[in-house]
């Protein structure tokens, strides 16, 4: 999908930035998404969900996916006709989030294991998810109807 797309829209419609593998960068992520949302008048709820999903993916990478301290997490945001496209590339361990099992969310808090909740949010809050591994990088494409 993204491969043959020509980006001809104005600068506001896209945003690209990179995060270092450090949880302090979550603030940078939030700021960038907020700015992008403001420029494109994206409703608060959708913006919140995009932020949440990217946060979870990024936190996963930082917590489990790193070989060293020098990884990068590249994010590209694009909005077109009320649909938001998000592309994430990272050079951490290969990790296909679509292969993780659904967490059990119906049981009591007391018994619950919390792992996998971030991936569960992604499945619930995004409209389309594609994963690929090439050139030594995880590449995740998310689609969200605004």
């Amino acid at each position: 999908m993204g491969n043959n797309r020509q980006i001809q829209t104005s600068e506001d419609k896209t945003s690209s930035f990179s995060l270092r593998a450090d949880l302090a960068e979550l603030k940078v992520l939030a700021e960038n998404i907020e700015k992008f949302g403001e420029l494109n008048e994206i409703p608060g709820k959708a913006l919140f969900e995009v932020n949440l999903v990217l946060d979870e993916l990024f936190t996963n990478l930082v917590s489990y996916g790193c070989f060293s301290d020098s990884h990068n997490f590249d994010i590209m945001l694009l909005i077109e006709d009320g649909v938001m496209f998000i592309e994430i590339k990272d050079d951490g361990k290969p990790f296909n989030p679509l292969e993780t099992p659904e967490p059990e969310i119906q049981c009591d808090c007391d018994e619950r294991k919390i792992g996998g909740l971030g991936i569960h949010f992604m499945r619930k809050m995004m409209d389309d998810i594609e994963y690929s591994w090439n050139n030594g990088k995880n590449r995740l494409k998310l689609t969200k109807n605004i």
Binding site: L26, D55, E56, D110, L117, H120, M125
Partner: protein, 492 residues
């Protein structure tokens, strides 16, 4: 992140700042870990009014804290939750198992009741205890409030099968209600009038047994519904004003104790122990039933179905057609949520409003006899659930049963039903009121300013046989009461 910690009695309130992501939650965890080093801390509130963002890392902090506090038999209350954050908790499937409150004061009230419960449990061995030939009773203090039984409609309308649309009452379901009666659910009279049956509302749930011939009970937990469920009833008794005392009963009899004997024991103890006992008890309970015997209404008591011989539906001539009375246990070893009322006929019942008594109770010749008491108990029946040894909070336990246990049935319980254990909320009833406020429908409108009985009486005056019948009923009831008094008086 901005984190504030404040002490409220034995509870701690933690107010937190804007973003609880992986970064923020690490800061929060440090504060929480420090607080939880104090082993005596068991109740905590998270004030999340200032939180605009939460991720799974924040949820992890909540669950970690919750687990620790529950291990200490305490609780975590969450308040001030903003809508996006609530959505995240919803999506995570968490909202049902968390104690979430709108305001901080609601959260503090909840934590206070948890603290009270902890203390009562700690103090269990020092609670007042009575041994009796049927088993032991342990008493846990309850509310000091005035309790009453609210009588909606009239028992007589049911017994004479003369219910019609103008005698129906409707009300929205209320979460905290304990009531029994005859009723049904449905949008329009066509849906429910012909299938009215036994009904119970208890701890946020409602069970009823439609008289549609299938003999299958319905069970409803309205908090999962739209909240627009209307209960329809021509006759309903509800316990108002809370429970004055909680009683844990463990039967020592082989095979359990009959309801008849259990109430006899309660009456005896009440006469001895409670100055506020006037002869009427309201009882809601988690009951472990060894043998459940039911008396099931088979037909809707509407005027269209009224017996042609003009006698009541409990008259020996009609009784078999109208009632299925179990002689063998219908269920064995089940857990029941029961709600009921009992009248001790050896007490001076003249303190109660006569028309209230008349509207609320009747003497079933096949069960009342010379026993000196009138009982009316309904039970929602569940697959047996293990009952804790010690219990102090009825509302909470009842919610747990309704949420966890498998619903099987709903029945009116015969007095021969046997009980092995029961945790009961007892209301020492101070008055019987015919207060229809909160109810809607033609029945309620008919009683705008005066007592329902009065108004009915005047309406009925147009039909000469009805007041006569009514008169007879009252006299019969009166005579029975007097005879009973005399008999019991003589025995003394």
């Amino acid at each position: 992140m901005d984190i504030k910690v404040r002490r409220h009695g034995e509870s701690v309130v933690v107010s937190m700042g804007e973003r609880i992501d992986a970064y923020g939650s690490a800061e929060l965890d440090k504060v929480l870990d420090d607080l939880l080093l104090d082993e005596s801390l068991a109740c905590m509130a998270f004030d999340m009014e200032g939180v605009r963002y939460i991720s799974s890392a924040g949820i992890r902090s909540i669950v970690k804290t919750l687990k620790k506090l529950r291990q200490r038999k305490g609780a975590l209350a969450i308040c001030g939750l903003q809508s996006y954050c609530k959505n995240v908790l919803d999506t995570a499937g968490m909202t049902r198992s968390l104690d979430i409150f709108g305001s901080r004061s609601d959260a503090m009230n909840f934590l206070q009741s948890v603290q009270w419960e902890r203390q009562a449990l700690d103090n269990w061995d020092n609670l007042e205890k009575m041994d009796s030939p049927i088993g032991d009773f342990r008493f846990i203090p309850g509310d000091n409030s005035q309790t009453e039984i609210k009588v909606i409609g009239s028992m007589a309308d049911v017994l004479y099968s003369r219910v019609n649309e103008s005698r129906m009452f409707s009300r929205r379901f209320s979460q905290t209600e304990y009531s029994i009666g005859v009723g049904g659910l449905g949008e329009s009279p066509e849906d429910y009038m012909k299938v009215l049956g036994g009904m119970i509302t208890i701890g946020g749930t409602m069970g009823w047994l439609p008289t549609d011939g299938h003999d299958l009970a319905d069970f409803l937990v309205p908090q999962n519904d739209t909240g627009s469920v209307l209960i329809r009833t021509p006759f309903n008794l509800s316990i108002g004003g809370g429970f004055n005392e909680y009683v844990m009963f463990n039967s020592s009899e082989e095979g359990g104790t009959t309801l008849d004997k259990l109430y006899k024991g309660l009456f005896l103890l009440s006469r001895r122990r409670r100055r506020d006992f006037k002869g009427v008890l309201g009882v809601a309970a988690w009951t472990q039933v060894s043998e459940l015997m039911s008396g099931t209404l088979k037909r809707s008591p509407i005027s269209e179905f009224a017996p042609e011989n003009g006698r009541t539906i409990i008259d020996p001539m009609n009784s078999d057609e109208w009632w299925a009375r179990d002689v063998m246990p219908r269920h064995r070893d089940v857990t029941c949520l029961t709600c009921g009322v009992g009248v001790d006929l050896s007490c001076d019942l003249s303190v109660f409003d006569k028309s209230g008594l008349y509207a609320g109770f009747y003497i079933d010749p096949t069960t009342a006899g010379d026993r000196g008491q009138i009982l009316n108990n309904h039970g929602a029946v569940f697959e047996r659930l293990k009952m804790p040894e010690k219990m102090v909070s009825l509302d909470k336990s009842i919610r747990q049963v309704a949420a966890k246990a498998e619903f099987k049935d709903m029945r009116r319980l015969r007095d021969t039903t046997r009980v092995t254990r029961a945790f009961m909320g007892i209301s020492y009833i101070q008055k019987l009121s015919q207060d229809t406020s909160g109810w809607q429908g033609l029945g309620a409108e008919a009683a705008v300013s005066r007592g329902l009985a009065d108004k009915r009486y005047r309406q009925e005056a147009e039909f000469p046989t009805v007041p006569k019948k009514r008169e007879e009923e009252i006299n019969k009831f009166q005579n029975f009461l007097e005879a009973q008094q005399a008999k019991l008086g003589l025995k003394k």
